[in-house]
């Protein structure tokens, strides 16, 4: 029943990251010189991310452009807001956002991208690959999962191959990210 398969590439896992941590990220880099090599956003807790998975509340959406239209959406988690976009290269994600009424719980898989704003700040936005409407229970599961993943990154910071870059670029106060995790967990307590 299983035909021989050729593993052409290893899919990048979707990192779990809270909005407040992604907001602090600003450094992106590319592994290798190949045009096709993936671009990573370095998370302040010391891990690279080429794809992320988030579950939060869609609070606003906005359509931009007519011919090559795209959607911009704001998705809030307990720690802050993600800026999500979906254009004509992500038709399914765009149609999903178009269909949804805010507020709604959504699960988003997407690629983080760094943009520089006119006043010199770096903003991270998420180019959505898929968007689905979910419920509160899934949001709670995600907060637990993301909390654990963030704490694991903090605990393993010294051992991470990206720790040196993270220290150089962010000099992160890991305690404050622990506090962020704590606050996020408190927010989902019934």
């Amino acid at each position: 029943m299983t035909q021989p398969r050729i593993q052409s590439y290893i899919r990048e896992p979707a990192k779990r990251v809270f909005a407040a941590e992604l907001r602090d990220a600003r450094y992106s880099f590319r592994e290798g010189d190949d045009e096709k090599s993936p671009t990573y956003i370095l998370l302040p807790t010391g891990e690279r991310s080429n794809r992320i998975f988030i579950v939060g509340s869609l609070t606003q959406k906005e359509k931009r452009g007519e011919q090559h239209s795209m959607y911009l959406a704001r998705v809030a988690d307990p720690t802050g807001t993600f800026f999500v976009s979906a254009g004509s290269y992500q038709p399914e994600a765009m149609q999903q956002i178009a269909k949804l009424e805010s507020p709604a719980f959504v699960a988003v898989v997407g690629k983080p991208n760094a943009y520089e704003t006119p006043d010199g700040n770096v903003l991270i936005s998420v180019r959505a690959e898929t968007v689905t409407a979910v419920d509160r229970e899934m949001r709670d599961l995600w907060v637990l999962d993301c909390a654990e993943a963030t704490l694991d990154r903090i605990d393993a910071f010294e051992k991470s191959p990206d720790a040196e870059a993270a220290r150089r670029e962010y000099n992160p106060n890991l305690e404050s990210y622990k506090k962020m995790v704590y606050d996020a967990l408190t927010a989902i307590r019934q």
Partner: protein, 604 residues
């Protein structure tokens, strides 16, 4: 959350735009966003204001630039405003990252606020101790507190006079997040465990105690234990429901009065008091960290538990194999498992040796985080990834298999193949929804000439379904004996060509992602049927009778499965996992408690 306050702010901004606010509606919207959808209050405020403005065909007002003469007292600054202030730079600290040029605190008679200057387009840096006037600075919010952003458009003018500035002293019990000045005595000096940290410890006054931190980059001065200081403009932060103050030693001046009577703090929450317990120390490890004097495993007649003895308990080392009576201990939950916490006020006394009933065996399938005794056999040995690890892999019994870890401790020896072991008091941990057993401290007892038939159902993986591949849903298969290939839309088999007498099948091919690894996964028909409560016959009915046909089936499955967490038992064939069983994951509140402890556990 103060709904009323947010409602007031929104209404004021609406009135400024000549819109009559509907208070009840605004309040209902806030509750819906914040309580029902867990949106942070600041995001809810912004969303509601924008939505109402849009309804009235108006734009969000641009942040107003106040006229130069319009000086705002620091105490009145609110996030989102563009302001002009005059204040004294009371402290500056090294930038936390290359993107930031300077951070510090600026104060006037009314209060103080943290400021930040970003490296990009930074105006001149500020000098500690000098008064200055800042025009067009932006009040931002950083980690829940107001913060002043000085950017390329801000005009900084030095004021060449030293105006009087008297900070108001706040007692420790009255501290709240923000900037505060206090008077306190350094009562404990803790070891520094962060390379940016210069000093940390506990400071107290008559009303209570609070943790303090000194980051490197300021003055090298150390605060002396038992010395009373006047501390001006320290940053107060909240963490784990507890406050801490970040101190710049340059703003501290020692005071003569050393007779400050410090009130000690209350013990932590989330633990319940235990009655007197008697138990035997199965294993013990001393001096684990500054805060933890010892930890290990204790067995009582009712069961075995992990225990922690905190440094502040002032208890002498316990001996392995001895019996003790413990009073005043507490039972808490740590990483999903019950744990006895022995802290300040607890008492431990040695008692006479007594028989301990043999601990009951737990089948692998019934394990949960905590301490257990198991009877297993080595199933698989994994390549060791670290020198500290002696051996890891899978052990199993008649009910299932589980990952095990054996750390490279003195006296530890590897498990041998084809030997049945009884392991007394193993630690069962949970990680990413998967259990593992730590055999390092356990007593191993090999059995001679016995065997177990290990159940091997495959591995359990937990993750989010982040992708559904094409070829999922209802598919048509070639009916030829031994072929079973999926047909094209035109019922074409690559080997047997047109096959109008195809067989239907239902499946999902996708990616299950746990945040570390993205795995290819296949859910065959029986798993899809039970997971979605949709039979093949029902799927066929949709495919044949609905306008979208087979696309409608995959649409329905995608809507219900994509972006959801699943717990899957699967067998692995090369890089593909084939599910035997799958269920939707539900939130585990014991995991919630364990994570809260992990996120806040350091501050005990």
């Amino acid at each position: 959350m103060d709904t009323h306050e947010i409602t007031t702010r929104i209404s004021q901004k609406l009135k400024a735009q000549e819109i009559n606010p509907d208070l009840e509606r605004i309040e209902a919207k806030i509750n819906r966003l914040v309580s029902e959808f867990g949106v942070p209050p600041s995001e809810a405020e912004r969303t509601i204001l924008q939505d109402i403005l849009k309804e009235h065909g108006k734009q969000m007002p641009k942040p107003q630039t106040s006229s130069p003469s319009d000086i705002t007292p620091i105490a009145d600054l609110a996030p989102g405003e563009w302001v002009t202030i005059e204040g004294k730079v009371v402290s500056v600290t090294d930038p936390p990252s290359p993107a930031v040029a300077q951070k510090g605190i600026i104060a006037d008679e009314s209060g103080a606020i943290g400021f930040v200057i970003f490296a990009k387009g930074a105006p001149a840096l500020l000098k500690a101790g000098e008064w200055c006037r800042l025009e067009s600075a932006v009040v931002d919010e950083f980690r829940g507190l107001a913060n002043l952003k000085i950017h390329s458009g801000t005009t900084v003018t030095p004021i060449n006079e030293d105006r009087p500035l008297t900070p108001v002293i706040t007692s420790i019990a009255d501290l709240s997040p923000g900037i505060a000045s206090l008077k306190g005595k350094v009562i404990q000096n803790w070891d520094v465990r962060h390379d940016r940290m210069q000093q940390t410890g506990l400071i107290g006054d008559e009303t209570g105690t609070v943790k303090f931190l000194v980051w490197k980059g300021g003055s090298d001065q150390q605060l002396a234990t038992d010395q009373v200081y006047s501390i001006r403009y320290a940053a107060v932060e909240e963490y784990n429901g507890r406050l801490s103050v970040t101190i710049d030693p340059a703003t501290c001046s020692p005071l003569e009065e050393d007779e400050l009577e410090v009130r000690s703090a209350a013990p932590g929450a989330m633990e319940e008091a235990l009655p007197r317990i008697e138990g035997k120390i199965i294993s013990v490890e001393s001096s684990v960290s500054d805060a933890i004097a010892a930890q290990g495993i204790i067995a009582t007649v009712d069961g075995a538990y992990s225990f922690t003895i905190w440094e502040n308990a002032g208890i002498l080392p316990l001996e392995q194999g001895m019996w003790y009576a413990i009073e005043g201990a507490r039972m808490g939950v740590f990483r999903g498992a019950s744990r006895i916490s022995i802290g300040e006020g607890a008492q431990i006394a040695p008692i006479e040796d007594r028989p301990l009933p043999p601990p009951p065996l737990t089948p692998i399938a019934d394990l949960s985080p905590g301490i257990a005794t198991i009877r297993v056999k080595l199933v698989q040995e994994w390549e060791s990834k670290s020198d500290r690890m002696l051996q890891s892999g899978l052990v199993g019994d008649e009910t299932g298999v589980i990952k095990f870890i054996l750390w490279n401790n003195e006296g530890a020896c590897k498990l041998q193949e084809n030997t049945v072991y009884n392991f007394f008091y193993v630690i069962v941990d949970e990680y990413n929804g998967r259990l593992s057993v730590n055999l390092t401290q356990a007593t191993a007892l090999p059995e001679e000439e016995s065997d177990i038939e290990v159940a091997r159902d495959g591995t359990t993986i937990v993750g989010a379904l982040v992708h559904i591949a094409s070829g999922s849903g209802i598919v048509k298969r070639c009916p030829e004996e031994g072929c079973n290939r999926v047909l094209s839309r035109q019922n074409f088999c690559p080997i047997h060509e047109f096959k109008p007498d195809f067989k239907y099948d239902l499946r999902i091919r996708g990616t299950l992602d746990d945040g570390h690894v993205a795995r290819n996964i296949l859910f065959p028909r029986d798993v899809v049927e039970s997971l979605f409560r949709m039979t093949l016959a029902e799927a066929q009915e949709i495919a044949e009778n609905q306008p979208l046909g087979a696309d409608e089936v995959i649409r329905q499955l995608t809507e219900r499965a994509l972006g959801r967490y699943l717990k899957v038992t699967a067998r692995q064939f090369e890089d593909l996992f084939i599910a035997n069983h799958a269920e939707w994951l539900t939130p585990d509140m014991s995991m919630h408690t364990a994570l809260l402890n992990r996120a806040g556990g350091d501050l005990a």
